[in-house]
Amino acid sequence: MIYADNAATTKMSEAAVRTMVSMLEEGWGNASSLYSHGQRAKEILEKAREDIAAVIGAEPREIYFTSGGSEADNQALRSAAAFGRRKGKMHIISTAFEHHAVLHTLKALEKEGFAVTLLDVHENGLVVPAEVEAAIREDTCLVSVMYANNEIGTIQPIREIAAICKEKGVLFHTDAVQALGHIPVNAEDGFDLLSASAHKFHGPKGVGFLYARKGVPLTNLIEGGAQERGKRAGTENVPAVAAMAAALQETAGHMAENAAHMTAMRDRLIEGLKQIPHSALNGDAEKRLPGNVNFCFEGIEGESLLLLLDDKGICASSGSACTSGSLDPSHVLLAIGRVHDVAHGSLRLSIGEDITEAQIDEIIAAVKDVVTYLRGFSPIWRDLVAGKKEFIL
């Protein structure tokens, strides 16, 4: 099997598994308990907080553990919105291609009276900082722009946007779920709030964290005990948190070499797939995550492509409607201007650190085969080739 869906989830690293198992066996105490067995769990929890903070150049007290990226996104947006409301500022700026954890929270906030501006992400899938600046109003309380997009992998100009927000006195949140562990992410970038998820960097599922710069007031999503400085109730999942820290330290420790290898493999894959006629890379070719490749192939549909790749032992994903469970294809592909017809024929391959050149070549050959096969009995392809319809790509 060639696993090329690391943007969906990653395999846990050995270090993360080892840490988690040993914690489950021995460090299972309640971190809020007074006796030493509980306090040992507390120590491990706080050590994990320090380790994670160190990786992103933050202070340990700025890290709040959550159940994952979605919860962190929800809490970041709700916190900034509540803060804004108290000051009479009820306008939020974000982008059209955020993760649904952000977009759906914004929809909910709109119903609660907030005004939301979604910025264009253009054909290359990049936010333009000057457009962020132009969109900021007197009553803007928050700007939320993802660090890197989960479907097309484009890396956003986070430092520039953060600088603009700082100058204008507006809070800035970034969803770094796809970025952390893969490209440098540091509090020096200037964000006020950041969301992260462990299972995207070889940690366990069901755990993540919210970074909130000192002084940024948080609003609870979950009320209860005084865990996480009173901002997130619930007995801490110490084994998962410790495993997340172990995974992050490992990926961050090898980031440069991993990125160099993956970027070379990514570009080899892009070059290979480009040779398929009437195909196009989605998103900027340079400003993209080392592991992300996303293509549209005209005349075919993504789900059948995925099923046939699965038969060849390749795990990938698509932004077609059939894979999303709705009639519309991926909102990300629509946001970069791909029309429905073409967006249905998309393929995302998100490669891992251990991908080999031979595997890349195997993927290229498999995709070529399957695309050719499906086009062979596609009525759209027949019309395109016969000149009855114009090629889009």
Binding site: G302, S304, L307, C322, H340, I380, W381
Partner: protein, 129 residues
């Protein structure tokens, strides 16, 4: 549980009656690219019998499997029987489809009906008899 039944996967992986009939006397195309599914059915009807049928489909696994199964269900059958084909029969023959994929079987039924109507308007032979 797998996404699709074994029957669906079999018809998806090894679709029956794929292709084009050059001298078809009934052609039906339904669906649209915007929604992500297009089915085209080619019929060769002689003496009130569907002597040959072929299909082309742009769509997901269940759309391809539904087209394939539909062609198997109507090949060699009299037109008046083919007219009665329902999407439910297609889905049942595939050992079921997920709820949100039932529209694929509807497309198969509609494509065949469109092809029969095309046959009627081309030949002037009523399909209601």
């Amino acid at each position: 549980m797998a996404l699709y039944s074994e029957k669906v996967m079999d018809h998806f992986r090894n679709p029956r009656n794929v292709g084009v009939i050059e001298d078809a006397n009934g052609i039906g195309e339904v669906g649209n690219a915007k929604c992500g599914d297009i089915m085209k059915m080619y019929l060769k009807i002689e003496n009130g019998i569907v002597e040959d049928v072929k299909f082309e489909t742009f769509g997901c696994g269940s759309a391809i499997a539904s087209s394939s199964m539909a062609t198997e269900l109507i090949k060699g059958k009299p037109v008046k029987e083919v007219r009665q084909l329902t999407n439910k029969a297609v889905a049942e023959a595939l050992d079921g489809l997920p709820d949100y994929k039932m529209h694929c079987s509807v497309l198969a039924e509609e494509a065949i009906k469109a092809a029969l109507e095309d046959y009627q308007s081309r030949t002037g032979i009523s399909i209601d008899e």
